[in-house]
Assembly symmetry: C2
Homo-oligomer: 199 residues x 2
């Protein structure tokens, strides 16, 4: 999987002690024991998302990063950056690259994890996070702050209007969509539910 190359463990690029030596009143509790829940954001990790995003820009990439850490002990599980410019894959946003990388290592969801991101997720990545189910998302910039300084829209939306598209009825969204004619559109769902519905 081509994205593995950017999904590096923080320990390989930034020693844990170095990270933990930064001023950070909220992360100290992580040292107490393995069962301590950490829900207070760690400013050092938000700062790291900014650093990774800047590094990605320097490498020709887009200005976004995502770090997934264990909520239990603060271990960094993956660092990822937006790979759209590098790969041409429009779905390769940092959050999705992180989810893919963790899946490739056998972790199928982010329960028990915190996702640190450069900016509040776009609608695509928000959807991915609803499926992946981290305990918490910590974002450095709001959508509005991002939109003031960055534009990555296209013929169907601008970043500042992207969420508005979701509030519209299907037929009013700028992405054209029509019903196709089929005899029985729900047969795949009924078939799946008959086999898996009680799982």
């Amino acid at each position: 999987m081509r994205y593995c190359v950017i999904g590096v463990l923080l320990s390989s690029v930034c020693p844990r002690d170095d990270l933990r030596s930064r001023p950070d009143s909220s992360s100290a509790e992580r040292h107490v024991g393995h069962r301590v829940e950490v829900t207070t954001p760690d400013p050092a990790l938000s700062a790291r998302t900014i650093e990774l995003a800047l590094d990605n820009v320097a490498q020709g990439g887009k200005p976004f990063a995502c770090i997934v850490v264990s909520a239990e002990d603060g271990d960094v599980l993956v660092e990822a950056t937006n790979q759209v410019a590098q790969s041409g894959d429009k779905s390769a946003h940092a959050e999705i690259v992180a989810i893919r990388e963790l899946a490739s290592r056998g972790r199928e969801d982010l329960s028990g994890c915190i996702a640190y991101v450069t900016a509040y997720p776009c609608p695509m990545c928000l959807g991915a996070l609803y499926y992946a189910e981290p305990d918490l998302v910590v974002y450095a910039a709001s959508r509005e702050e991002e939109g003031e300084h960055y534009e990555d829209g296209g013929r169907y939306m601008r970043l500042l209007t992207f969420y508005d598209e979701y509030a519209k009825p299907v037929e009013e969204r700028s992405l054209p969509a029509v019903r196709g004619e089929v005899d029985d559109p729900t047969v795949p769902f009924r078939t799946w539910t008959a086999e898996h519905g009680d799982e």
Copy 2:
């Protein structure tokens, strides 16, 4: 890239003549010339998304498929199915698998393409399609029809309430999200825009 294995050209599994011999009043115009725009949905392709979804269920997968065709000449560029169950990657919905597969072949967006899907896209895939920019999305089942027969929610949403989450303010969404403290959250965006803003 692991998803390439399921991104097979239709021509390899279903001869074009076979496809075109099905009753299909709208697709005939595709034979007229290379410059004819095809925006009328082809029922044979919607039926094929149902067939692929059923095949995927038979293989242990989820009941979704996506076929991307050229709007100009009707050529099938990729067939993809949901690979979440097979790969553990929560982002591996059919639409995103198709986008990744086409990107791996050098096609970075879906302009000039029509995306045929089993059901109207979930919020994640809708976002991916806003970025990939197909000319048209053709869906067999509506979200409501799908929701009547299938459930794939989790601790943050049910399928029928998923879009409702997007209409809420950030702080009211069920996926917990908080601001992280950083000195300058927009520096990655300003840096990117300084380099690329006039592209």
